[in-house]
Symmetry: C2
Subunit: 219 residues, 2 copies
Protein backbone atom coordinates (compact mmCIF):
# COMPACT_ATOMS: atom_id res chain seq x y z
CA UNK A 1 0.00 0.00 0.00
CA UNK A 2 1.38 3.39 -0.96
CA UNK A 3 0.16 5.07 2.25
CA UNK A 4 1.66 4.58 5.68
CA UNK A 5 -0.90 2.21 7.08
CA UNK A 6 -0.12 -1.06 8.81
CA UNK A 7 -3.21 -3.30 8.81
CA UNK A 8 -1.54 -6.28 10.51
CA UNK A 9 -3.78 -6.14 13.59
CA UNK A 10 -6.66 -3.83 12.80
CA UNK A 11 -9.10 -3.12 15.64
CA UNK A 12 -12.66 -2.21 14.68
CA UNK A 13 -14.46 -0.69 17.65
CA UNK A 14 -17.91 -1.62 18.90
CA UNK A 15 -19.24 0.78 21.51
CA UNK A 16 -21.68 -1.70 23.08
CA UNK A 17 -19.13 -4.51 23.26
CA UNK A 18 -16.61 -2.19 24.94
CA UNK A 19 -19.13 -1.18 27.64
CA UNK A 20 -19.03 -0.48 30.52
CA UNK A 21 -15.56 0.69 29.50
CA UNK A 22 -15.33 3.62 27.09
CA UNK A 23 -14.13 2.97 23.55
CA UNK A 24 -11.00 5.16 23.99
CA UNK A 25 -10.10 3.22 27.14
CA UNK A 26 -10.28 -0.11 25.29
CA UNK A 27 -8.44 1.34 22.27
CA UNK A 28 -5.61 2.66 24.43
CA UNK A 29 -5.13 -0.73 26.06
CA UNK A 30 -5.37 -2.58 22.75
CA UNK A 31 -2.77 -0.32 21.15
CA UNK A 32 -0.46 -0.90 24.10
CA UNK A 33 -0.90 -4.62 23.35
CA UNK A 34 0.06 -4.27 19.69
CA UNK A 35 -2.91 -3.14 17.60
CA UNK A 36 -1.50 -1.45 14.47
CA UNK A 37 -4.58 0.40 13.15
CA UNK A 38 -7.98 1.42 14.54
CA UNK A 39 -11.33 1.84 12.83
CA UNK A 40 -14.03 3.70 14.74
CA UNK A 41 -17.37 2.09 13.92
CA UNK A 42 -20.68 2.98 15.57
CA UNK A 43 -23.69 2.68 13.31
CA UNK A 44 -26.11 3.79 16.05
CA UNK A 45 -24.34 7.01 17.04
CA UNK A 46 -25.44 10.36 15.64
CA UNK A 47 -22.84 12.14 13.54
CA UNK A 48 -22.25 14.53 16.42
CA UNK A 49 -21.62 11.64 18.80
CA UNK A 50 -19.42 9.88 16.26
CA UNK A 51 -17.31 13.02 15.82
CA UNK A 52 -16.84 13.25 19.58
CA UNK A 53 -15.96 9.55 19.76
CA UNK A 54 -13.48 9.85 16.88
CA UNK A 55 -11.76 12.79 18.53
CA UNK A 56 -11.63 10.95 21.87
CA UNK A 57 -9.98 7.95 20.20
CA UNK A 58 -7.53 10.23 18.35
CA UNK A 59 -6.37 11.60 21.68
CA UNK A 60 -5.23 8.16 22.88
CA UNK A 61 -3.55 7.02 19.66
CA UNK A 62 0.22 7.21 19.35
CA UNK A 63 1.85 8.36 16.09
CA UNK A 64 2.03 5.52 13.62
CA UNK A 65 -1.29 3.93 14.51
CA UNK A 66 -3.72 5.06 11.84
CA UNK A 67 -7.31 6.04 12.64
CA UNK A 68 -10.02 5.19 10.14
CA UNK A 69 -13.68 6.18 10.41
CA UNK A 70 -16.38 3.76 9.31
CA UNK A 71 -18.94 5.15 6.84
CA UNK A 72 -18.94 8.80 7.99
CA UNK A 73 -16.85 10.69 5.43
CA UNK A 74 -17.91 14.03 6.87
CA UNK A 75 -16.76 13.01 10.34
CA UNK A 76 -13.41 11.80 8.97
CA UNK A 77 -12.87 15.09 7.14
CA UNK A 78 -13.73 17.21 10.17
CA UNK A 79 -11.60 15.13 12.54
CA UNK A 80 -8.71 14.88 10.10
CA UNK A 81 -8.72 11.09 10.38
CA UNK A 82 -6.27 9.01 8.35
CA UNK A 83 -8.97 7.35 6.32
CA UNK A 84 -12.45 5.98 5.81
CA UNK A 85 -13.90 2.49 5.50
CA UNK A 86 -17.12 2.09 3.54
CA UNK A 87 -19.47 -0.85 3.29
CA UNK A 88 -21.72 -1.76 0.41
CA UNK A 89 -24.54 0.50 1.77
CA UNK A 90 -22.25 3.47 2.34
CA UNK A 91 -21.16 6.15 -0.12
CA UNK A 92 -19.54 4.83 -3.32
CA UNK A 93 -15.74 4.52 -3.22
CA UNK A 94 -15.01 6.75 -6.22
CA UNK A 95 -16.99 9.64 -4.73
CA UNK A 96 -15.43 9.11 -1.31
CA UNK A 97 -11.92 9.15 -2.78
CA UNK A 98 -12.72 12.42 -4.57
CA UNK A 99 -13.78 14.00 -1.28
CA UNK A 100 -10.89 12.61 0.78
CA UNK A 101 -8.09 13.46 -1.62
CA UNK A 102 -5.19 11.18 -2.56
CA UNK A 103 -3.47 10.84 0.83
CA UNK A 104 -6.20 9.20 2.91
CA UNK A 105 -6.60 5.46 3.35
CA UNK A 106 -9.78 4.15 1.76
CA UNK A 107 -11.06 0.68 2.59
CA UNK A 108 -14.12 -1.06 1.14
CA UNK A 109 -16.01 -4.08 2.46
CA UNK A 110 -16.14 -6.97 0.02
CA UNK A 111 -18.38 -9.99 0.53
CA UNK A 112 -18.00 -11.80 -2.78
CA UNK A 113 -16.44 -11.84 -6.24
CA UNK A 114 -18.88 -9.25 -7.61
CA UNK A 115 -18.05 -6.74 -4.85
CA UNK A 116 -14.34 -7.22 -5.49
CA UNK A 117 -14.73 -6.88 -9.26
CA UNK A 118 -16.42 -3.52 -8.68
CA UNK A 119 -13.49 -2.33 -6.57
CA UNK A 120 -10.90 -3.55 -9.06
CA UNK A 121 -12.73 -1.80 -11.92
CA UNK A 122 -12.06 1.59 -10.30
CA UNK A 123 -9.03 3.66 -11.28
CA UNK A 124 -5.83 2.50 -9.53
CA UNK A 125 -5.36 4.28 -6.23
CA UNK A 126 -9.07 4.71 -5.57
CA UNK A 127 -9.27 1.91 -2.99
CA UNK A 128 -6.29 0.98 -0.83
CA UNK A 129 -7.62 -2.11 0.83
CA UNK A 130 -10.61 -4.39 0.90
CA UNK A 131 -12.11 -5.88 4.04
CA UNK A 132 -13.04 -9.47 3.17
CA UNK A 133 -16.12 -10.07 5.22
CA UNK A 134 -17.16 -12.15 7.00
CA UNK A 135 -14.60 -14.90 7.37
CA UNK A 136 -17.10 -16.64 9.57
CA UNK A 137 -20.67 -15.68 10.41
CA UNK A 138 -20.53 -13.38 13.44
CA UNK A 139 -23.05 -11.97 15.88
CA UNK A 140 -21.63 -8.40 15.60
CA UNK A 141 -22.77 -8.17 11.95
CA UNK A 142 -25.86 -10.37 11.62
CA UNK A 143 -26.54 -9.03 8.10
CA UNK A 144 -23.10 -9.94 6.77
CA UNK A 145 -23.89 -13.34 5.23
CA UNK A 146 -22.86 -16.89 6.03
CA UNK A 147 -19.12 -16.56 5.78
CA UNK A 148 -16.39 -16.81 3.15
CA UNK A 149 -14.40 -19.46 4.99
CA UNK A 150 -10.61 -19.64 4.73
CA UNK A 151 -10.71 -20.78 1.10
CA UNK A 152 -12.95 -17.89 0.12
CA UNK A 153 -10.65 -15.42 1.87
CA UNK A 154 -7.58 -16.95 0.19
CA UNK A 155 -9.10 -16.64 -3.29
CA UNK A 156 -10.36 -13.07 -2.83
CA UNK A 157 -7.08 -11.92 -1.26
CA UNK A 158 -5.12 -13.30 -4.21
CA UNK A 159 -7.38 -11.49 -6.67
CA UNK A 160 -7.14 -8.25 -4.68
CA UNK A 161 -3.34 -8.45 -4.62
CA UNK A 162 -3.24 -9.15 -8.35
CA UNK A 163 -5.22 -5.92 -8.77
CA UNK A 164 -2.84 -3.95 -6.56
CA UNK A 165 -5.17 -3.71 -3.57
CA UNK A 166 -4.37 -4.89 -0.05
CA UNK A 167 -6.74 -7.21 1.79
CA UNK A 168 -7.71 -7.74 5.38
CA UNK A 169 -10.10 -10.36 6.74
CA UNK A 170 -12.89 -9.62 9.21
CA UNK A 171 -15.60 -11.58 10.95
CA UNK A 172 -15.11 -13.98 13.80
CA UNK A 173 -11.33 -13.58 13.97
CA UNK A 174 -9.78 -14.35 17.37
CA UNK A 175 -6.43 -15.48 18.74
CA UNK A 176 -7.65 -19.06 18.31
CA UNK A 177 -7.94 -18.78 14.53
CA UNK A 178 -5.89 -15.69 13.56
CA UNK A 179 -2.95 -17.88 12.47
CA UNK A 180 -5.10 -19.76 9.96
CA UNK A 181 -6.58 -16.50 8.71
CA UNK A 182 -3.15 -14.88 8.29
CA UNK A 183 -1.97 -17.98 6.42
CA UNK A 184 -4.49 -17.25 3.64
CA UNK A 185 -2.19 -14.45 2.49
CA UNK A 186 -4.13 -11.43 3.77
CA UNK A 187 -2.21 -8.35 4.84
CA UNK A 188 -3.87 -8.26 8.21
CA UNK A 189 -6.84 -9.26 10.31
CA UNK A 190 -9.62 -7.10 11.67
CA UNK A 191 -10.77 -7.90 15.17
CA UNK A 192 -13.90 -6.68 16.95
CA UNK A 193 -15.26 -8.93 19.72
CA UNK A 194 -12.05 -10.68 20.70
CA UNK A 195 -10.59 -7.36 21.82
CA UNK A 196 -13.69 -5.27 22.67
CA UNK A 197 -15.16 -7.91 25.00
CA UNK A 198 -11.85 -9.01 26.51
CA UNK A 199 -11.47 -8.43 30.27
CA UNK A 200 -7.90 -7.35 29.42
CA UNK A 201 -7.84 -5.82 25.90
CA UNK A 202 -4.05 -5.33 26.04
CA UNK A 203 -3.53 -9.03 26.74
CA UNK A 204 -6.01 -9.96 23.99
CA UNK A 205 -4.11 -7.78 21.51
CA UNK A 206 -0.77 -9.24 22.63
CA UNK A 207 -2.07 -12.78 22.10
CA UNK A 208 -3.32 -11.91 18.62
CA UNK A 209 -0.10 -10.11 17.76
CA UNK A 210 2.01 -13.09 18.85
CA UNK A 211 0.06 -15.44 16.59
CA UNK A 212 0.26 -13.02 13.65
CA UNK A 213 3.98 -12.37 14.07
CA UNK A 214 4.65 -16.12 14.09
CA UNK A 215 2.62 -16.54 10.91
CA UNK A 216 4.26 -13.59 9.14
CA UNK A 217 7.74 -14.93 10.01
CA UNK A 218 6.71 -18.36 8.72
CA UNK A 219 5.63 -16.93 5.34
CA UNK B 1 -29.61 36.25 3.49
CA UNK B 2 -26.50 36.84 1.43
CA UNK B 3 -26.92 33.65 -0.62
CA UNK B 4 -29.54 33.15 -3.31
CA UNK B 5 -31.99 31.11 -1.30
CA UNK B 6 -35.69 31.81 -1.05
CA UNK B 7 -37.14 30.04 1.99
CA UNK B 8 -40.69 31.37 1.57
CA UNK B 9 -42.21 27.92 1.02
CA UNK B 10 -39.62 25.36 2.00
CA UNK B 11 -40.53 21.71 1.40
CA UNK B 12 -38.86 19.12 3.64
CA UNK B 13 -39.27 15.66 2.16
CA UNK B 14 -40.42 12.56 4.00
CA UNK B 15 -39.97 9.38 1.97
CA UNK B 16 -42.62 7.38 3.83
CA UNK B 17 -45.20 10.16 3.68
CA UNK B 18 -44.66 10.54 -0.07
CA UNK B 19 -45.22 6.81 -0.69
CA UNK B 20 -46.44 5.16 -2.83
CA UNK B 21 -45.23 8.07 -4.94
CA UNK B 22 -41.49 8.64 -5.21
CA UNK B 23 -39.98 11.67 -3.50
CA UNK B 24 -38.84 13.25 -6.81
CA UNK B 25 -42.36 12.87 -8.18
CA UNK B 26 -43.86 14.73 -5.21
CA UNK B 27 -41.09 17.35 -5.30
CA UNK B 28 -41.63 18.03 -9.01
CA UNK B 29 -45.35 18.58 -8.45
CA UNK B 30 -44.78 20.71 -5.35
CA UNK B 31 -42.29 22.93 -7.17
CA UNK B 32 -44.77 23.36 -10.02
CA UNK B 33 -47.20 24.55 -7.33
CA UNK B 34 -44.82 27.14 -5.91
CA UNK B 35 -42.36 25.57 -3.49
CA UNK B 36 -39.28 27.82 -3.38
CA UNK B 37 -36.71 25.52 -1.73
CA UNK B 38 -36.40 21.80 -1.03
CA UNK B 39 -34.68 19.93 1.78
CA UNK B 40 -34.10 16.22 1.29
CA UNK B 41 -34.53 14.50 4.66
CA UNK B 42 -34.49 10.74 5.20
CA UNK B 43 -33.03 9.64 8.50
CA UNK B 44 -33.57 5.94 7.77
CA UNK B 45 -31.82 5.84 4.39
CA UNK B 46 -28.22 4.69 4.11
CA UNK B 47 -25.81 7.33 2.84
CA UNK B 48 -25.70 5.53 -0.51
CA UNK B 49 -29.50 5.64 -0.75
CA UNK B 50 -29.57 9.27 0.35
CA UNK B 51 -27.05 10.21 -2.33
CA UNK B 52 -29.19 8.50 -4.97
CA UNK B 53 -32.32 10.24 -3.63
CA UNK B 54 -30.59 13.63 -3.58
CA UNK B 55 -29.44 13.23 -7.18
CA UNK B 56 -32.92 12.10 -8.26
CA UNK B 57 -34.44 15.21 -6.65
CA UNK B 58 -31.79 17.43 -8.25
CA UNK B 59 -32.82 16.17 -11.67
CA UNK B 60 -36.39 17.46 -11.24
CA UNK B 61 -35.51 20.86 -9.73
CA UNK B 62 -35.54 23.94 -11.93
CA UNK B 63 -32.84 26.61 -11.58
CA UNK B 64 -33.61 28.95 -8.73
CA UNK B 65 -35.07 26.33 -6.41
CA UNK B 66 -32.32 25.48 -3.93
CA UNK B 67 -31.65 21.92 -2.78
CA UNK B 68 -30.55 21.38 0.81
CA UNK B 69 -29.55 18.04 2.33
CA UNK B 70 -30.52 17.23 5.90
CA UNK B 71 -27.68 16.09 8.17
CA UNK B 72 -25.49 14.38 5.54
CA UNK B 73 -22.67 16.82 4.79
CA UNK B 74 -20.78 14.17 2.80
CA UNK B 75 -23.81 13.56 0.59
CA UNK B 76 -24.27 17.30 0.04
CA UNK B 77 -20.62 17.70 -0.95
CA UNK B 78 -20.68 14.76 -3.36
CA UNK B 79 -23.98 15.81 -4.94
CA UNK B 80 -23.00 19.47 -5.13
CA UNK B 81 -26.15 20.47 -3.26
CA UNK B 82 -26.83 24.12 -2.43
CA UNK B 83 -26.63 23.57 1.29
CA UNK B 84 -27.06 21.51 4.43
CA UNK B 85 -29.47 21.59 7.33
CA UNK B 86 -28.28 20.22 10.65
CA UNK B 87 -30.22 19.37 13.77
CA UNK B 88 -28.96 19.41 17.33
CA UNK B 89 -27.70 15.78 17.01
CA UNK B 90 -25.94 16.38 13.72
CA UNK B 91 -22.45 17.73 13.11
CA UNK B 92 -21.73 21.12 14.73
CA UNK B 93 -22.42 24.16 12.55
CA UNK B 94 -18.93 25.65 12.69
CA UNK B 95 -17.34 22.42 11.46
CA UNK B 96 -19.99 21.99 8.77
CA UNK B 97 -19.41 25.54 7.51
CA UNK B 98 -15.67 24.86 7.31
CA UNK B 99 -16.31 21.78 5.16
CA UNK B 100 -18.94 23.41 2.93
CA UNK B 101 -17.11 26.62 2.23
CA UNK B 102 -18.63 30.12 2.24
CA UNK B 103 -21.12 29.79 -0.62
CA UNK B 104 -23.39 27.02 0.65
CA UNK B 105 -26.57 27.61 2.62
CA UNK B 106 -26.34 26.34 6.18
CA UNK B 107 -29.45 25.94 8.32
CA UNK B 108 -29.63 24.82 11.93
CA UNK B 109 -32.61 23.54 13.91
CA UNK B 110 -33.42 25.61 16.97
CA UNK B 111 -35.87 24.47 19.63
CA UNK B 112 -35.34 27.08 22.32
CA UNK B 113 -33.44 30.17 23.46
CA UNK B 114 -30.33 28.19 24.35
CA UNK B 115 -30.09 26.62 20.88
CA UNK B 116 -30.47 30.04 19.28
CA UNK B 117 -27.89 31.62 21.57
CA UNK B 118 -25.41 28.95 20.47
CA UNK B 119 -26.03 29.79 16.81
CA UNK B 120 -25.75 33.53 17.39
CA UNK B 121 -22.47 33.07 19.26
CA UNK B 122 -20.83 31.71 16.09
CA UNK B 123 -18.90 34.00 13.75
CA UNK B 124 -21.22 35.95 11.40
CA UNK B 125 -21.86 34.02 8.20
CA UNK B 126 -21.55 30.61 9.81
CA UNK B 127 -25.29 29.94 9.90
CA UNK B 128 -27.63 31.44 7.31
CA UNK B 129 -30.94 30.44 8.77
CA UNK B 130 -32.49 28.72 11.73
CA UNK B 131 -35.39 26.32 11.57
CA UNK B 132 -37.60 27.16 14.56
CA UNK B 133 -39.00 23.80 15.53
CA UNK B 134 -41.62 22.67 16.21
CA UNK B 135 -44.27 25.34 15.91
CA UNK B 136 -46.73 22.73 17.04
CA UNK B 137 -46.11 19.16 18.19
CA UNK B 138 -46.13 16.96 15.10
CA UNK B 139 -46.23 13.25 14.42
CA UNK B 140 -43.40 13.43 11.84
CA UNK B 141 -40.91 14.39 14.56
CA UNK B 142 -42.13 12.79 17.79
CA UNK B 143 -38.87 13.72 19.57
CA UNK B 144 -39.16 17.42 18.79
CA UNK B 145 -40.84 18.63 21.98
CA UNK B 146 -44.22 20.13 22.76
CA UNK B 147 -44.17 23.11 20.46
CA UNK B 148 -43.07 26.75 20.51
CA UNK B 149 -46.46 28.15 19.61
CA UNK B 150 -46.85 31.34 17.60
CA UNK B 151 -45.52 33.54 20.41
CA UNK B 152 -42.43 31.40 20.78
CA UNK B 153 -41.77 31.54 17.06
CA UNK B 154 -42.27 35.32 17.01
CA UNK B 155 -39.77 35.87 19.84
CA UNK B 156 -37.10 33.56 18.42
CA UNK B 157 -37.47 34.94 14.89
CA UNK B 158 -36.98 38.50 16.20
CA UNK B 159 -33.84 37.45 18.07
CA UNK B 160 -32.50 35.61 15.00
CA UNK B 161 -33.08 38.66 12.80
CA UNK B 162 -31.38 40.92 15.31
CA UNK B 163 -28.39 38.57 15.04
CA UNK B 164 -28.39 38.69 11.23
CA UNK B 165 -29.79 35.19 10.76
CA UNK B 166 -32.93 34.32 8.79
CA UNK B 167 -35.64 32.18 10.38
CA UNK B 168 -38.13 29.66 9.11
CA UNK B 169 -40.77 27.84 11.13
CA UNK B 170 -41.40 24.10 10.97
CA UNK B 171 -43.71 21.61 12.63
CA UNK B 172 -47.40 21.23 11.90
CA UNK B 173 -47.56 24.01 9.31
CA UNK B 174 -50.38 23.67 6.77
CA UNK B 175 -52.44 25.94 4.52
CA UNK B 176 -54.89 26.29 7.42
CA UNK B 177 -52.35 27.98 9.69
CA UNK B 178 -49.54 29.19 7.38
CA UNK B 179 -50.89 32.75 7.42
CA UNK B 180 -50.66 32.96 11.21
CA UNK B 181 -47.17 31.47 11.12
CA UNK B 182 -46.00 33.90 8.44
CA UNK B 183 -47.43 36.77 10.49
CA UNK B 184 -44.92 36.03 13.27
CA UNK B 185 -42.24 37.59 11.08
CA UNK B 186 -40.43 34.46 9.88
CA UNK B 187 -38.84 34.48 6.43
CA UNK B 188 -40.65 31.35 5.38
CA UNK B 189 -42.39 28.19 6.47
CA UNK B 190 -41.22 24.61 6.19
CA UNK B 191 -43.84 22.09 5.24
CA UNK B 192 -43.64 18.30 5.42
CA UNK B 193 -46.95 16.44 5.79
CA UNK B 194 -49.26 19.00 4.21
CA UNK B 195 -47.45 18.53 0.88
CA UNK B 196 -46.01 15.00 1.15
CA UNK B 197 -49.34 13.40 2.06
CA UNK B 198 -51.49 15.54 -0.26
CA UNK B 199 -53.32 13.67 -3.02
CA UNK B 200 -52.33 16.61 -5.24
CA UNK B 201 -49.00 18.08 -4.01
CA UNK B 202 -49.08 20.85 -6.64
CA UNK B 203 -52.48 22.02 -5.41
CA UNK B 204 -51.30 21.80 -1.79
CA UNK B 205 -48.27 23.95 -2.62
CA UNK B 206 -50.45 26.44 -4.52
CA UNK B 207 -52.79 26.77 -1.54
CA UNK B 208 -49.87 27.37 0.82
CA UNK B 209 -48.26 29.82 -1.56
CA UNK B 210 -51.49 31.82 -1.90
CA UNK B 211 -51.77 32.20 1.87
CA UNK B 212 -48.11 33.17 2.20
CA UNK B 213 -48.22 35.71 -0.64
CA UNK B 214 -51.27 37.35 0.95
CA UNK B 215 -49.47 37.56 4.29
CA UNK B 216 -46.23 38.91 2.79
CA UNK B 217 -48.16 41.59 0.87
CA UNK B 218 -49.99 42.52 4.06
CA UNK B 219 -46.71 43.00 5.98
Amino acid sequence: MRRAFDPTLYLVTDTLLCAPRSVPEVVAAAVAGGVTAVQVRDKTASRRELLALTRAVQRVLPDGVALVVNDAVDVALIAGADGVHVGQDDLPAAEVRALLGPDAVLGVSVGDDADLAEVLALPPGTVDLVGLSPVWATPTKPDAGSGLGLDGVRALAARAHAGGVAAVAIGGVSAANAGQVAATGVDGVCVVSDICTAPDPAAAARALRAVLTQELIAR
